[in-house]
């Protein structure tokens, strides 16, 4: 096989894309964010419930997309459950570095998310990996109601 492909599509990623975790509806969600990638038509609908302290109590998603965006959303929801806003934003920055920065070492705090490292060899696919994170960033910003985010600035 081809090393770059094996690194990009690690078994963990393929597994999460085939059987995404936290995939489904969240009826009592406090905020819903729709994320679009107009370049390919992919979409993710993120539903988030915050706890009294503003932490992320419950998070689920639906939508359709490529293996990278689906696995990224699945891994992200697992990682962020129970996290405070500052913790989640730290994680977002570390994850962005992971998928964009050639030199940077992946911080251990990222845990399972480190399997997404192969994305850095495929600059066109960074948007796929970042889409769910942009949505969750907006969810923290928004706190309530509905919003839409896009990989393309308007």
């Amino acid at each position: 096989m081809i090393p770059e492909i094996d690194e990009l599509y690690q078994e963990v990623i393929l597994d999460h894309s085939r059987r995404p975790r936290n995939f489904g509806e969240l009826p009592d969600a406090g905020v819903r964010v729709h994320g679009d990638n107009p370049a390919c038509g992919d979409e993710i609908h993120l539903a988030v419930k915050f706890d009294a302290g503003g932490g992320l109590e419950e998070i689920k998603f639906t939508g359709r997309g490529c293996a990278i965006s689906q696995a990224s959303a699945s891994l992200m929801t697992m990682k962020l459950k129970g996290k405070s806003r500052p913790e989640a934003m730290d994680m977002l920055r570390a994850f962005r570095d992971l998928v964009t920065n050639d030199a940077g070492e992946a911080p251990k705090t990222l845990g399972d998310l480190r399997v997404m490292k192969g994305v850095r060899n495929f600059p066109q696919r960074v948007k796929c990996a970042m889409l769910p994170w942009r949505a969750v960033e907006q969810a923290f910003e928004q706190r309530a109601g509905e919003a839409t985010v896009s990989t393309e600035p308007e």
Binding site: E4, L14, G65, Q124
Partner: protein
């Protein structure tokens, strides 16, 4: 040496085994880029509907222009300016001949199909379209033949209507009489769908449009470099196309405007080149086509486009169409043999492309995977978002061909797709 002479050095004549038999494999040698490798594999370039590759004759024509003729056109009185002007206007004539226009005046050079359509929507539409008028389009239009009309409709209060697309990828022509009413002022449609491969019956559509007094605009981006085409046979009023999808350079294209309506259209962009005299308060304009070409045009691009036309005509567009159709039919059949694969568009007659989805992998994953084997496919909505929605997909994977592609390359694509299916499922 004249620029045409530079083109002749490539001597495409050698690639014809006999008068009507083209040596397609030998033609590949005219395209230096086809020797490139991608990720250590020989390049298989199946993204021709996005842009075609360029033969050496076109590359040399550009180089020759910049080395021997480069100057601005139409104003200078010096030698180089005369050469540049002559070559530029000769290119316009060559484009006119190529599509069967009556005169070179009917050819406006633009940046490409998109700009050509925007010119019609803004200059012609701005003058002639009123509230309540209807622009008829189809569900299979590229965004470039949709968004300019949406902008016009917003500005004028005109309405848009759409001819639906059937499941087999052809237009639902039974619906046409109900849609094509006297309020329709223009019927705009693509000749060949860039994601389905459907070849629309342009002649029939133009005739029906004219019977209610509507003008017609044909988006020929996917057809003009692939099949013999004559604007009089088609009977269209406007025809838009790009040079870069037909072996020419990027940034050059043309709009054909039928002579009878050419002079009724007001100028579009204002500036140099398009004026006769300018006073502070008011100006007078040159005749068409020059009044539509404000500013320094893409001179080298036009000359490169003419070289591309010379090249294509040496091969013969009828032969190209036959060759490319065979490739597309072969790809269509082979793709249909793959399990859990849905292939779009008509089975029989089709343009040189095939769009498909595989259950095993998303188009972007498939395209990334294929690229690692040197295979250039395109995954996504292909600037056809409404059409993708019509077929219930967010995007497709598209393989699009040109005369330098081979059935061996299609066999290789099938192998790679089979590998991908195993990998992702």
């Amino acid at each position: 040496m004249h620029w045409r002479a530079a083109a002749r050095e490539a001597d495409y004549g050698v690639h014809k085994i006999a008068d009507n038999i083209v040596d397609w494999k030998a033609l590949r040698e005219d395209f230096p880029i086809l020797r490139e490798q991608a990720h250590g594999h020989p390049l298989i370039y199946f993204d021709n509907a996005a842009t075609s590759q360029k033969p050496r004759a076109v590359i040399q024509a550009l180089q020759h222009f910049y080395e021997h003729e480069n100057a601005n056109v139409h104003r200078g009185l010096h030698t180089l300016s005369s050469r540049a002007t002559e070559a530029y206007e000769k290119a316009r004539k060559r484009v006119a001949e190529y599509i069967g226009a009556t005169s070179a005046d009917e050819i406006v050079f633009t940046r490409g199909t998109t700009e050509s359509i925007n010119l019609v929507a803004q200059a012609w539409g701005g003058k002639f379209i009123r509230e309540g008028d209807v622009i008829l389009l189809t569900e299979m239009e590229h965004h470039s033949n949709l968004v300019p009309w949406q902008l016009l409709a917003e500005r004028t209060g005109a309405r848009l209507r759409f001819v639906p697309v059937l499941d087999d990828g052809t237009l639902d022509l039974e619906k046409l009489p109900a849609l094509l009413t006297p309020e329709v002022k223009l019927f705009g449609f693509t000749h060949i769908s860039n994601s389905l491969g459907t070849i629309n019956p342009v002649g029939e559509l133009c005739e029906k449009a004219h019977s209610v007094g509507a003008l017609t605009l044909v988006d020929a981006a996917q057809s003009v470099g692939h099949l013999p085409l004559d604007v009089h046979e088609l009977g269209c009023d406007f025809l838009a196309f790009s040079g870069h999808k037909m072996c020419g350079p990027t940034g050059i294209g043309a709009l054909y405007v039928r002579k009878e309506i050419l002079h009724s259209i007001p100028p579009w962009h204002g500036g140099g080149e398009m004026i006769v005299s300018v006073a502070l308060e008011k100006s007078s304009f040159k005749k068409a086509p020059h009044k539509f070409e404000a500013g320094t045009p893409n001179i080298a691009g036009a000359i490169g486009l003419a070289a591309a036309i010379d090249y294509l005509d040496q091969i013969g567009r009828a032969a190209i169409f036959e060759h490319d159709s065979q490739l597309a039919r072969y790809a269509f059949e082979r793709l249909n043999e793959l399990p859990q694969t849905r292939v779009f568009g008509p089975a029989n007659e089709r343009g040189a492309l095939v769009g498909f989805v595989m259950d095993a992998a998303h188009p972007h994953d498939l395209t990334t995977f294929a690229d690692q084997y040197g295979l250039a496919l395109r995954g996504g909505h292909h600037c056809n978002q409404p059409l993708m929605r019509r077929f219930g997909v967010s995007g497709t994977t598209r393989a699009s061909f040109y005369f330098y592609n081979t059935t061996d390359e299609i066999d290789r694509m099938i192998e790679i797709l089979q590998k991908a299916a195993r990998f992702f499922s």
